[in-house]
């Protein structure tokens, strides 16, 4: 096994509410995800997406981080997904431009680690100063000792799914 491998990658050819990485092998030490996201929602704006792990829809998530001069803080045990740590470009932004999202998941399969952490870096924006932009750093939490075998990335809502052209890869670090 190489010390870094692309486990899964692709580009959407139709709209989809989710990007779902399933049956993730347990043979790596860390996971990394990169995806570019855009929706058909109107406006030169961006919106947050959500993340769930292992299909868990219980209130076992939290998030902490910051964007520009503000802070996002959604405590553990109060959230049923990791909110707003990913970003999606809306349709009023420059054509063909996608929000960029990067996620690192250290020790995803370690069952000693009682709270898994997902490290997020996101950026979105365009060359026109009237278009909204977004840059953030955050960490999302999933309160579980279970190994992570599924990561699901959600668009802002079912009404505004990821559009065709949104792309992704999942990598494994040895």
């Amino acid at each position: 096994m190489a010390d870094f491998e692309i486990i899964e990658e692709g580009t959407l050819t139709t709209t989809s509410y989710t990007l779902d990485f399933t049956s993730i092998p347990q043979t790596y030490t860390h996971l990394e995800i990169m995806f570019s996201a855009r929706s058909a929602k109107s406006g030169a704006t961006t919106d947050g997406g959500e993340v769930r792990v292992n299909g868990d829809s219980g209130t076992n998530y939290g998030v902490q981080g910051g964007y520009i001069n503000n802070v996002m803080s959604l405590n553990m045990g109060t959230r049923s997904q990791i909110d707003s740590s990913t970003r999606i470009m809306n349709a009023g932004q420059q054509t063909g431009v996608y929000a960029i999202n990067k996620i690192m998941i250290p020790n995803y399969s370690d069952t000693t680690v009682a709270t898994k952490g997902l490290l997020f870096e996101t950026t979105a924006g365009g060359p026109n100063s009237s278009w909204a932009y977004w840059n953030s750093f955050s960490i999302g939490f999933w309160s579980s000792t279970a190994a992570i075998n599924q990561v699901t990335l959600y668009s802002e809502s079912v009404s505004y799914p990821f559009v065709a052209g949104s792309s992704y890869w999942l990598g494994g670090w040895a």
């Binding site: 553990m76 370690d110 490290l119 309160s143």
Partner: protein
């Protein structure tokens, strides 16, 4: 979704793994200078059982065994919903680079710290006045709170980095703490 298994994309080399347990510090030593950048990815937790559910301590990083006042650090911090902004020791007098907040082992503290540290140009001794690091990390636990740190750290020297030292600033690492060191070669 399309699936493509086992395809090599990057020249990333796993150099070493450390699993400190019952010790306050450890060192990745004899690091080869044959890569372009280093990356450390890990999970950490401290052994202190007192305090409160949200107690934490800091972790310090040093290079090449240098414990002199040759470091700085400056990072963004978000803790719970009330503490935010920059935290820094920006003068070149501090004796280490303060990193991730590390949760303790107080009975109600289920949190684990998670982090990544990127060290570009670590072996460049050609005249760069200082080595720089980027780190992103944090932790969350129970319903008690969470913390995130993200920032810039530095070591004021032109020396190539050959060892990386980590120290928990309060008590010891517990079992399950894990650090993986990678070398990254740019194409």
């Amino acid at each position: 979704m399309a699936r493509r298994m086992g395809v090599v994309m990057s020249t990333i080399t796993k150099i070493a793994t450390a699993t400190p347990d019952g010790v306050a510090s450890f060192t990745f030593s004899a690091i080869s200078g044959s890569y372009d950048d280093l990356m450390v990815i890990g999970s950490v937790k401290g052994s202190h059982t007192g305090g409160s559910a949200f107690s934490n301590c800091t972790m310090t990083m040093r290079f090449n065994g240098d414990s002199g006042g040759n470091y700085f650090w400056k990072f963004n911090k978000a803790v719970d919903s009330s503490t935010r902004g920059a935290d820094a020791s920006a003068s070149a007098t501090v004796t280490g680079m303060q990193l991730n907040l590390v949760p303790t082992s107080y009975s109600a503290n289920t949190g684990w710290g998670q982090f990544k540290i990127y060290i570009p140009g670590y072996s460049d001794a050609s005249g760069n006045a200082a080595k720089r690091c980027y780190h992103l990390g944090g932790y969350g636990q129970g319903t008690h709170g969470s913390a995130m740190t993200q920032g810039n750290h530095g070591w004021s020297t032109t020396d190539a980095i050959t060892s990386v030292f980590f120290q928990l600033d309060w008590y010891n690492f517990v079992a399950g703490s894990s650090f993986t060191l990678y070398g990254i070669t740019n194409a």
